[in-house]
Subunit: 107 residues, 2 copies
DNA sequence: GGAATAGCACCCTAATAAGAGTGTTTAATG
DNA sequence: CATTAAACACTCTTATTAGGGTGCTATTCC
């Protein structure tokens, strides 16, 4: 039950994120070493993240964004409550558990 | 040179993200098992992510967002080029390497 | 109300990533 | 244009995580 390969779009999204981190860092005139130090992680990890390696942890990403002052963006990454009020109302009736209704093979 | 504790705001941001993933999943009427299966990861991993444990990897997050159809949000997480054209132009002059100009203790 | 099962909370082990170290390349800048 | 060090590319080892299992709780839905 293990990993099929990382979908290409997902890989590209991660790579893009890495480039943007690098850009944001340089805009702030921080070296990789400096960012790593302030974030409390190793330079290697910063480098791997900027390089777009998918192995990085969300914690490290959050630490970096925190230092960059862009934590809000992570917090609202999948946020929907802000724009769609009707959606929010709908959510009040959302099931806590989702029952398998699929008759065929979609589990 | 290891980890000082994860800053509280960062932890909260990750927790929020986890809740939003859970919400998005239930909106789509997917069980944790189903989402895990489609994403090619284990149920435990999905659960830990939704629970807000910071240990999850960016790859897993990307896989999940891909299944949820929200990969764009990750891709543009730190994207700045879209709104600020002037900023983009400024970036053309950005240094590839950032030199330590800090005279004191700010490394 | 009762049966079925989604979700949770563990534990354990194999797989993986983070950290540290070393050497090299190359951009910034005095 | 020479110096300095930022960034890159590795390797190795240890720490951490993902996966898989089992049992339990409690929500759906008939």
């Amino acid at each position: 039950m293990n990993h099929y390969p990382l979908p290409e779009p997902a890989a590209r999204a991660i790579a893009k994120l890495g480039r943007d981190i690098s850009l944001a860092r340089r805009r702030r005139r921080l070296s990789q070493a400096s960012l790593a130090d302030r974030s409390g992680i190793s330079v290697n990890t910063v480098r791997r993240l900027e390089k777009g390696e998918p192995s990085g942890s969300i914690e490290h990403l959050a630490r970096i964004l925190h230092v960059l002052g862009e934590l809000k963006r992570l917090e609202t990454l999948l946020d929907t409550g802000t724009d769609e009020i009707g959606l929010l109302m709908m959510d009040e009736g959302l099931p806590q558990r989702v029952r398998a209704r699929q008759s065929k093979g979609a589990l």
